[in-house]
Amino acid sequence: MRCDGARSRLFPGSRECRLGWRVACVASACVEICVASGTEARAQAVAPPGIDVDPAGRSGGDGQEPLAEVTVEAEESAEEAAPRDPLPVTVIDAKKYAGRATDLNELLDRTSGVKVRQAGGAGSSSTISVRGLEGRRVAVFLDGHPLNTPDGSFGINDLPLQLVDHVEVYKGVVPARLGGDGLGSAVNVVLRDRQTSYADFGYSYASYAVQRAFAFGKYVDESAGFKAAAGAIVNTADNDYLMPRSNGAAVRRNHDGFWSVLAGGNFELARTWFSKAKLELGYVQNAKELQGVPPVGDSGVSQYDIHHARTQSQLGVVALELEKRDAAPGLDLSYDVALPYFRSRLRDTSDVVYDFDGNARPNPNGRGEVGRGPNDSDNRRWDLLHTFNASYAFSPQYSLNANHNLGVTWDRPRDELANTAAGVNVTPREGSLQRSVSALAFEGRWLDDRWVTVGAVKHFYFQSEGALTSAYDIVTAEPERVSQSQHTFGGSIASRFQLLGPLLFKASYEHAARLPSAEELFGDGLIVQGSTALRPEVSDNWNAGFYLDLKGEGRRLQLEVTGFASQIRDLITLGGALTRNYANTGAAELRGVELDVKADATRFLSLYANGTYQDLRDAAEFIAGTTQPNYLRGLPIPNVPRFYSNWGAELHGHWLAGASVRTRVFYDASYVGEYFYEYEVSRNQSRRIPGYVVHSLGLQQTFDYDRYSTNVELHDVGDVARLDEFNQPLPGRSVRLLFRMTLL
């Protein structure tokens, strides 16, 4: 029998049904399934086929009462399933936080093995660090597509949590299906794809005038076999928080305003030859003022108090997603293609500069507050991204997966003002980049699924075209057009074994590679010279750990401990003095351990804690280019925190007005130990990034089975002065409010 016509009352997030309701056909009846956790569900048969249930759901709209209660196995959430994935992955279930006034960066930052390095407040650039490696070494994906935006002008943090289903953080092995290169770590943000009609509205306000408003909606017509969704998000921020100064005073940020608009929609057909055919359109525009930062300490880098410089960015994307399940017995096919277009601008033309005491003076360099001259850039990029995936199950035990990921990028940078003012070309040249990753993966299951092993081989191919500025003559010599291609191989194997019922053992190994970027190969046209001889960075990553899951009546304890190690070679670093370029000079060794604990202590109290110790040390045998033993060998790599942890608690219950009104009180805390900006070689080392402990509190109140939600949070209760990177002050204490309404 079919249950397509049945409607459920779907009260996601209610106490008993934290993971939502589903309609399914169970035991020859249509049932509403209340999914209480990843592995447990209750169901009640309520709606014979074709008969509607009252959407309010307090009782059957046609007077029907539940027919029976049955117990069914619910589909696990990605978070619940993650511990049994042979790959070392942590999954953040973003849906749990959809009613909270937090964002993706903060969720990632509270994850073991992950730190998010931020340059400032809302809208500022950020980089994700996984086990001490960051930047291009950590691949970032959005729904499986490599996120490859120029200038960091768009990031995953631009997405509100309400749009996100979950976030996969791979630490040590990246699944073959994702493609992309990196040194074994990746973050994949999976967007939410509800299968029912809904509308979702929200508004949040936080200190420093950080505001976000969003509206999403989806219409599902199961009988016609189509779905249509649309949404928009508006973000604005003043980011006018205080920054410390060397003299002990503080100065308020005054030029860090930010706004962005994101809008998009999709249309999906389910009843074509394809199992799923989905067309998506997206558009993003943002504008950001640039904020100067006063020096902290007597070696601090100094900037002007910037009053005028700003950036603007636009992104448009069209994407097509096709799926064909069971194209042949056991064969599933999927094909995605996306065409993003980026445009980013930096306008920096002020002929007046300001200091942090409020004094203005004519610009001694003529124009421009950020660099040594003016900018009025107009950089454009066109991308073509394609992913093909074929999955074939030979039997219930064995399957193969073939994947091809291709990205082609054309860059067209322009800055005539900067070139004219400098007297020569000072902007990168036009170029193109093609990256291809082909992967073949094998999965085997034995001993009644107690033992699962996944192995993969990957081939990376890279071709780029750009222009090299002459090392001998940058005035009259025409840049030389050069084309370069490289390829390399990677591979991984990961295994999970169920030792006892609740105890799993996982181990994995990956040989990973990161290909040089176009900027690293061809430079920026003046200061950063090209380096066409660069080799890929490579790493060998090992993981081993245990996962324990103990359940009792209303209680549960999940504990995961993972040890990890990596050897990294041919690290690409920027060197030089007068002019600079990239070279394969570095090597590092990583050792560490992560501990994750989650506990449902009672039906009303959940606790979590995690801690990461990562010891990333210089492993280069010789000083680069010489035969002299490396004097830094064995020292911790600077600017990388070594120990950090997070912990928190949540009280939840229906204490105020019955089952439809739910209250959550939560507490989160984070600790980061002090670390050094430079190799620790001196007793008088002064450039330190101070450690901190930050506490946050919150209260969420939902009504009408989570249809209406209010949330108030106090972040950084102690108003701790935090610096990220070196000399980048972060916001202190802030109050956040969120109002959300979900209609189903």
């Binding site: 060397s246 100067g292 020096p295 007597d298 070696s299 601090g300 880098v301 900037q303 002929d351 500069v353 200091d355 942090f356 004519p362 610009n363 001694p364 360099n365 003529g366 124009r367 040594r372 001259g373 004219t420 003012a421 400098a422 007297g423 090299l468 500025t469 002459s470 090392a471 001998y472 003559d473 005035v475 009259t476 430079g523 003046l526 010279q529 380096s531 001889a533 060197g575 030089g576 003095a577 007068l578 002019t579 370029n581 070279a583 280019g625 010489t626 035969t627 002299q628 004097y631 830094l632 600077p638 600017n639 430079e678 070689v681 001196s682 008088n684 080392q685 002064s686 450039r687 070196f726």
Partner: protein, 412 residues
């Protein structure tokens, strides 16, 4: 034992020209021996050292009489590629491109180093060269600040500023709006401060010409300015061009000529005769026209100049024939130590190993030259005997970091 240098000579490689006619004798100690190649300790004095690591540098004191390698355990962290200047026990650190704070340190009789005061230069001004006009007065040039600041090096109190902004001093690129020169190299003669005024197009390239400003030290006011198109000041955050006062009372000014990136510009010295406030039209030491005993015969700019007296200057010269295209800053050992005779207008290449650009500081101790090099044979301090022509082919003292400043200290 066959050294790497010898191997290069034997295979007739890129260093063949350096091996052929050089009268100097190269000796080859064990590269890792850490002992003075020329016997005994490398020297007898103490030196202020700026050693650069990844993102910072460290200011420390090296006692040349003590054996063993040099590390930064007692050193103080400063910005990368800072400059250090010494007068008596006072050390002034100008932090160059990476910080606007000008720092004071004091070295004690025991060789220890202690932190003194500091003052802030304007934002992004790039404090660069420092000269001492007396015990209570010094000057620091602000390359991108359009100023020279006067300060008391004992108290680190600012005493005044000499404004060098204004279109009358500037050669600006159309559209840049740049209406002032970039003050860099400083020199004092009598009651006058001579300021090298670069005319930067951008951080690398300069307009042609050598421009000088003359400041009255008593009043801290600009007295006059003059220029000459026969030579070209460079001056970026990477390296100071230099002004030297010789024993005859003449000033010699070196201009780096856009560091070889502009083939139209030469590098070399002009002279300002004693009692004159203009360049000597009869003197030009054009180093582009000089043939050096290096592959290709050319050196296209100098770094780390040190005046040794009697018209002799030692410096690290970049050999363009040893630079890859695109450059490889790690493996391009393109800098050769050279001795320049300003009077005779001659030059010779010293038989020290070539260095890459990460290091290259020079100091003179009696008859011995100490050179901080980042050579293929090792990173550290090498020695060259000015009398016997003997040079070490491996570091006599290995250093923790690339040494960019090596400044002899006086206990007076």
């Amino acid at each position: 034992m066959i050294s790497r240098l010898t191997i290069h000579c034997a295979i007739g490689g890129v260093l063949a020209a350096a091996c052929g006619d050089d009268p100097a004798t190269v000796i080859q100690p064990e590269p890792s021996s850490g002992e003075a190649a020329l016997g005994g300790a490398p020297g007898a004095g103490r030196y202020a050292v700026i050693a650069n690591l990844e993102s910072s540098a460290f200011l420390g004191i090296w006692d040349a009489a003590k054996p063993g390698g040099y590390d930064n355990r007692e050193a103080f962290e400063v910005a990368s590629y800072s400059y250090v200047f010494a007068r008596g026990r006072d050390l002034i650190v100008a932090q160059n491109l990476n910080s606007d704070e000008v720092l004071r340190f004091e070295h004690g009789a025991d060789g220890g180093l202690s932190r003194g005061g500091s003052f802030s230069a304007p934002a992004q001004s790039v404090p660069m060269d420092v000269v001492f006009a007396g015990p209570d007065k010094a000057y620091v040039s602000l390359l991108f600040g359009g100023q020279v600041l006067a300060f008391d090096p004992r108290t680190m109190e600012r005493r005044g500023e000499i404004d060098l902004t204004g279109p009358e001093l500037a050669v600006a690129e159309p559209g840049s709006g740049d209406l002032n020169p970039e003050p860099g190299a400083l020199g004092i003669r009598g009651g006058e401060l001579y300021v090298g005024l670069a005319q930067k197009k951008n951080t690398i390239l300069s307009h042609s010409g050598m421009y000088m400003g003359v400041v009255d030290i008593a009043s801290d006011t600009l007295r006059t300015s003059f220029s000459d198109q026969r030579a070209n000041l460079a001056q970026s955050g990477g390296e100071i061009d230099r002004v030297y006062l010789d024993e005859r009372g003449d000033l010699y000014v070196y201009g780096g000529g856009s560091y070889g990136f502009d083939p139209e510009q030469s590098h070399g010295f002009l002279r300002i005769r004693g009692g004159q406030a203009e360049f000597d039209r009869s003197y030009l030491f054009n180093l582009n026209e000089l043939s050096f005993d290096v592959p290709g015969g050319r050196i296209d700019y100098l770094n780390h100049l040190t005046y040794a007296g009697n018209g002799l200057v030692y410096a690290a010269g970049n050999v363009p024939s040893l630079v890859s295209n695109p450059p490889d800053y790690v493996n391009d050992f393109s800098f050769r130590l050279v001795e320049l005779n300003l009077y005779e207008q001659t030059a010779r290449v010293l038989p020290l190993p070539p260095s890459n650009g990460y290091s290259g500081a020079v100091a003179i101790e009696g008859d011995r030259l100490l050179a901080a090099l980042a050579a293929r044979e090792g990173v550290g301090i090498y020695t060259y005997d000015l009398v016997t022509n003997l040079a070490s082919s491996a570091p006599v003292v290995t250093t923790q970091g690339y040494v960019s400043q090596l400044v002899r200290l006086n206990d007076e």
